[in-house]
Amino acid sequence: MAYLELKSIVKSFGSTKVVQQFDLAVDQGEFVSFLGPSGCGKTTVLRMIAGFEQPSAGSITVEGQEISHLPPAKRNIGMVFQAYALFPNLTVGQNVGFGLKLAGVPKAERDARVAEMLEIIKLPQLADRYPYQLSGGQQQRVALARALAVRPKILLLDEPLSALDAKIRVSLREEIRALQRQLGITTIFVTHDQEEALSISDRIVVMHEGKAAQIGAPFEIYNSPKTKFVASFVGTLNILEATVMDWGQMRLSIDGRDVTTSHGFTAKAGEKVSVALRPEAATLGWTNDGRNHMAGTVEEVAFLGSVVRVRVRFEHQTISLDTFNDPANPPPLRGATVAVAFKPEDLIILEGGTTEANHEPGTAVDAPVAVTELA
């Protein structure tokens, strides 16, 4: 039996169902992320586990015991908030020791535990500081220590990195993951940032309109998205419109350039289909290994650090592809003519034919604007 189990959870506020028939089983020591745009219900599920909201229907069990009717104070579930939520009137040490003091832990033992926790988060020298004297990253580490000091059964993280600077965000997420492994604590992490979820989790629950759109390991979610929503929300996907040339040989034409796919499809010659290609599946330059090649013009070059993202335009459509930075080979210049190469098996056919209304065909769907903006 799973350590934490959510069964048929429903949550309605008035007539709006925020969470609909949500099921999830989390193993002990597992790190599970809830990923989705704002308004998808991910925070509501987290708050129901913490006890700040009551499910309208369904059950939440920890180690087989129903907890959904316990007040938050009796659940022994640690929580870290986006806004840090350190007690401003208490020092770092007092903050970390707050839960222990309430639990009646004697002072000597408490002090030892606080020192140990501050050691773990690498801030042993800051015990006597007040929260306002700390940077955001330090405050969030103290909040983590405070939540963990009482040895909770489950740790809940509600977008703990959203308020931090880009660099700190990356380093703190690695620290959180290492700490979680070290302590073996079952953890639920809520985020809207796909990179965060992909990099940190054992499993990801992609949420959409109050439902789990897909549950799986990062590799699975990224490479085998089950729904169009998951495909467009996780990672960057080129969606192109192609005309079927020869159904039997699986030949297609994209902006007049012939390509083949190794995936079967049902559309007949002359029909239009939508095809998808991950930017990392395409490379620049001609090869001799049976890849598809499409000649085009470089429209945009974005240096992302270790990765350089190049957008190539054919006739009407464009494709984004990722290459690694190489000091010896500067990225192509805008306006240069290049060949885009990709393997037939990387060209995915999106059955159902036409692209979604809100995605202009032939553009990399970096942000599903229609979804996140209106959520």
Partner: protein, 260 residues
């Protein structure tokens, strides 16, 4: 930028002048009891037992008013912000009622409710009338106390702090007294100061209830001895100001605001 800064200083100076002028006028007037020379003659009234008793009585009532109203207002503001944010405009309106209901109406109402033949006779003895006076002052202080604490609590993320404390096992009492109250301390002090000032200066209700407070005493003196009354005003003002200074020193919020 420069010109705006000058403008701001000018505005501040006009304000200071506008409000401090009457005070300075009073001080100057109180020193002129003896014709043709400045002296502290008028201040000799401070030595009278009547002054000391009335002032002490007012101080005690003021402190009790502060305690009672803090105990009423802090949990109310907390619950309204946390659970019933939609009720906030209504609660705010209610707390403003004492400003809108003339004091005289308030007292009429209380007298009718608690007269010696009612179910809770509070005008029978001096002690009971003092309790009634305290009730009236709490009502008078409510708008100030509420506004101060409400705006103080808005600067604190009440909901998240409460949830953080709950998830660490804290009950309601712990949250209110160790998490919320210490973080609105400066707001409480500011409300307490206003309450103190109002109670020290109040005389309508006290005279209707016939309680020997400082305000009534000042009014009586003022009728016949203008110089002494001015002196008393100056002293009352100085003491109130001194209390506020002490509160600021001891209760200062040592956390600086986070810089932009």
């Amino acid at each position: 930028m420069k010109t705006s800064s000058v403008g701001a200083w000018v505005a501040v100076c006009i304000g200071v002048f506008y409000l401090l002028m009457p005070l300075m006028g009073t001080v100057e007037f109180s020193l002129r009891m003896l014709r043709g020379t400045y002296s502290f003659e008028a201040y000799k009234i401070l030595g009278t037992g009547e002054f000391q008793q009335s002032f002490l009585f007012s101080m005690i009532i003021a402190l009790l008013t502060i305690i009672v109203s803090v105990l009423i207002v802090v949990p109310t503001v907390y619950f309204v912000q946390l659970r019933l944010p939609k009720l906030r405009p209504i609660v705010e309106f209610i707390t403003l009622l004492p400003l809108v209901i003339p004091a005289i109406v308030l007292v009429f109402g209380y007298l009718r409710l608690y007269n010696s033949s009612s179910w809770l006779p509070l005008t029978g003895t001096a002690e009971a009338t003092n309790v009634l006076l305290l009730f009236a002052y709490v009502a008078l202080a409510l708008p100030y106390m509420y506004r101060a604490i409400d705006s103080g609590m808005r600067t604190v993320d009440v909901r998240t702090l409460t949830e953080a404390a709950e998830s660490l096992g804290a009950g309601l009492g712990t949250i209110l007294f160790t998490v919320i109250l210490p973080n609105v301390r400066s707001a409480v002090l500011s409300g307490a100061f206003l309450t103190f000032a109002i109670v020290i200066g109040e005389f309508t209700i006290a005279s209707l209830l016939d309680r020997p407070v400082f305000g009534t005493y000042l009014q009586n003196v003022g009728a016949g001895k203008p110089y002494n009354a001015s002196a008393l005003s100056v002293v009352a003002f100085a003491i109130t100001w001194a209390s506020m200074g002490l509160m600021q020193v001891f209760g200062r919020d040592r956390r600086p605001k986070v810089a932009h």
